[in-house]
Symmetry: C2
Subunit: 217 residues, 2 copies
């Protein structure tokens, strides 16, 4: 399991914050067996490097101009499957984590963790392992319930109901929607009632907020 390596792990840092890169470089410069051999301020630069020289591990941020860290990870996994990716970011919400999981990165840690955890992560990953921080796991746990609730709410809307909800959000009245869809105003009203119940919205105001926060608009 533990093969003895004489050559250090060669790491590239990808982050649009030069300051962050400089800091990490210094931090890791003192660590044996880890060597920062390249850096990039965005995904495009990173890919250029990867085409020109050997890299063992790519440490990448998520939010970057032009190409996100998630996209970068996907491309790396497609073009250079042997390269490991460690995502180091400050985002810890479910949406991002979900994307990271699908991008098949080997590791995920938050920027607000200590240096030691970073070193651990790199070490584990270079040893063909994975490293996911505890925060990620607990967020995944926390979001199982929320996810279910969201499904109960949004997904239970039928396509017709969704269609009408969108029209409501476009400031059409029930009568106008009825004309638009060539159905009776009564029907539209019935749909409205169902929508209100399914989304647990007490009022129209609540419904609009629901629609906006669930990105239906």
């Amino acid at each position: 399991m533990n093969e003895i390596k004489n050559s250090p792990v060669e790491v590239m840092i990808v982050d649009d914050h030069q300051m962050f890169i400089d800091g990490i470089k210094l931090l890791l410069s003192k660590v044996k067996n880890i060597k920062i051999v390249a850096e990039a301020l965005n995904g495009k630069q990173a890919l250029e490097v990867l085409y020109s020289r050997k890299i063992d591990i790519v440490m990448t941020d998520i939010s970057m101009p032009e190409m996100s860290g998630v996209e970068l990870t996907r491309l790396i996994k497609k073009e250079f499957p042997q390269i490991k990716v460690l995502v180091v970011t400050m985002y810890n919400d479910y949406g991002i984590i979900n994307e990271i999981i699908h991008s098949e990165a080997e590791g995920y840690i938050l920027k607000n963790t200590g240096t030691q955890e970073l070193i651990n992560a790199i070490t584990k990953i270079s040893d063909n392992g994975t490293y996911y921080c505890n925060e990620m796991v607990s967020i995944l746990m926390d979001n199982i319930k929320i996810e279910n609730k969201q499904k109960e709410q949004t997904k239970n809307l039928t396509s017709r109901e969704l269609e009408i909800l969108k029209l409501i959000c476009q400031e059409y009245s029930s009568s106008e929607i009825a004309s638009k869809l060539f159905i009776s105003k009564f029907t539209v009203d019935t749909h409205r009632k169902h929508i209100l119940h399914k989304t647990n919205s007490g009022t129209l105001v609540g419904l609009i907020k629901f629609a906006i926060f669930n990105r239906l608009i």
Copy 2:
């Protein structure tokens, strides 16, 4: 103007990302006349330090748990007016910048700038100057027009109207708002009319969208 200082500037770093703190500490450890003498992971910790020892410059992030960097800056300016504040953050949108301006920080730079700019900023500020990055200035320029448009819409609302708009967004009906504010339902209705006209919202739905997109909620 340039008094010769023998003692280095004493700086505290406030950031909820331990990794960032570690990096900056290392980066600045090599710089003459700048000394990182304290660090804090949030505003509360930072204040504790300030009450216990002398600090010349506080470098703070914006988004932190419990107390934001803006709040921290305000408190510092109130309690320790002689302490300079340099805001170092990755946010560069107008809302944040606006808040920072009002918090009267001496400097503002983005995390995606190089180390040299950071050193420049600290040096200038310690010399009783200010340092605001170019990005901030251009964003301010860009947003003058937007601001004017916003004023036409939002700012024309009187404080009472704004108060009622917020209650509307909290899903209270006119009658409920009337009870809450100890005024007549008729009065609330009058305000509603004015709000609808001033915001150019044709319907309640439009009003809610206006409120959400103008961050009134």
